[in-house]
Symmetry: C3
């Protein structure tokens, strides 16, 4: 077998597409029954959508959230591995289900497209990274992953090294009146990542204000560590 | 102290050797009693063999498995740290015991040699990695690590980003009649690695068929992410 | 927003400074109450000091230990994320508290300065890393993190790949009469790092002898893996 004989243009029916941050979207039209029983996702759906990145979590989950709301699909599992290709954070691994494989494929396709937008708020320097996300109306993925209030605006911030994340969280809480939906640290809720993570629900303007204030101080502190971040996407906030 | 005064040719009695994937083999002829009690490996053996890599798990475990079967030694512990030098998977750390230090040294030496073969099925691209292993007859290491059926053929597959691993697992299950012995995901059984892992027991031809089908689709999907993998070893399947 | 508009010279009151190993020191003078309740550090202090690195644990904790002893501050939490920027070990994330923000700021400033010394015993090669630390008199940080005996000399060693760490631990125990205060492996007490870690309490000369013997064999084994380590700090033992 010579791997160079394999084309980068994949023709498998399972393949949907790829996007930034080493993200791949796949579908399985009729998952093997024995395997499904091991997966701990119930046995309701045999048409599965898979979404998986080496780097980033909240951006992709915000994309998935919109994709699930727009299609006849359901979130079955969300896992955040310790990854980021050597950096201090997470990747993601998400399984969707649907009765119709074309719905599932559409959801995965939509999530890939939206990831280009929602993963825009990622800042990676020589020393650490920051991640932000915002949704005007949280759906089932953000609820499952971060206990977001359904239908309310949702904000997310993660900072690494972890101390930067806590100052961002404190700044966000003082910036406006919002509700904490999840708080995570290396030993609390993360896969031992080097991050403090805060997510928020509330009114759109309050949540956005909190996230923007957190982003400003987070960037100032990260840059104080001696190098400017690369921005693999396009910031949207 | 000047580290450059230390030779790369190690003369310590503890040193056995090194091999691919930042693997080192060591022995301790009479482990300290107080330390042994902390190790949670029982107190039967004071002659210990140590085997440890930055990258890879199943290949080295298959090598250890053959080495233990060929010598008068026993597997005492298997741990899979979250490592792979910045990639999304595991390394390994294995402790063997024996009554005779020469048996233990022989086992470690054998495992180092066999790792060059069994760690051949590792594929690492810019985006992710795939690992495969196969043994015609599983022994105590593969049983302890992956619940392999002793004496039966054993197959292993891991894919990262994790979504690729699940499609490989589904493909393997549909390719032939085999039994799942372990199924792992970022939050289930791994050290939060960005992988889905499946291991199988069964007839030799069925297991090999399952692994080869998984390898083919795994490579197609990994390459679809945009770059060809490097192959640090020599594929043997 | 253009990140290049942000200066590397941070003027935020939260910023204290940075040092080697991607370490940042920060303070929060009046932590948000709602956030404080999520932090699991009690509610006694609203003036918090934060200390956080991508790489290293024991060196920074030894620095924090001295800083807390020298100031009117208290250790509130110590977390060791799985990090080291792609290598097999930990970073750190530490929260201090005090009644007076100037005490807390002084403690963080002191810890930053001492980290340059105490993080000197870090050796990072192409294959793995070693970390050592020594304190003549352990205080509350080393007690909280590694169960050090307060007031006694304290020694620490970590080796990666993990097998090297166990041989260092065995060598240390045979070198002198010391007491094990913590023993950690990938599955026992670490964030799934690829290390065996041992920490010791005892008489100053015995602890130092144990650590120096461990360092010698650790370096010989690491270098036997084929490359000389870089030493990001200045060794002090």
């Amino acid at each position: 077998m010579n791997v160079k004989d394999i084309s980068t243009h994949c023709t498998r029916t399972e393949f949907v597409g790829t996007t930034v941050l080493d993200t791949i979207g796949l579908v399985i039209s009729g998952i093997d029954d024995t395997l499904l029983q091991k997966m701990n996702i119930g046995t309701k759906y045999h048409a599965l959508g898979l979404f998986s990145s080496r780097t980033g979590a909240a951006g992709q989950l915000t994309a998935i959230d919109d994709a699930v709301k727009a299609t006849n699909t359901e979130i079955l599992s969300i896992e955040l591995p310790r990854d980021t290709k050597g950096w201090g954070g997470h990747g993601n691994y998400i399984v969707l289900g649907g009765n119709d494989i074309s719905d599932v494929r559409h959801a995965v396709q939509l999530a890939l497209e939206l990831t280009e937008k929602y993963a825009g708020e990622l800042y990676i320097s020589e020393s650490g990274h920051l991640e932000f996300a915002y949704s005007a109306s949280a759906g089932p993925a953000l609820q499952k992953a971060f206990h977001a209030e359904p239908g309310e605006a949702f904000g997310f911030m993660a900072g690494s090294p972890a101390a930067i994340g806590l100052v961002m969280a404190d700044t966000a809480m003082k910036a406006s009146s919002v509700k904490i939906t999840s708080y995570m640290t290396p030993d609390m809720g993360t896969a031992h990542s080097n991050e403090v993570i805060l997510s928020l629900s509330g009114d759109a303007s309050a949540v956005k204000e909190a996230v923007l204030n957190a982003r400003q101080i987070g960037l100032e502190l990260l840059i104080a560590m001696g190098s400017y971040p690369e921005i693999p996407g396009t910031p949207y906030l």
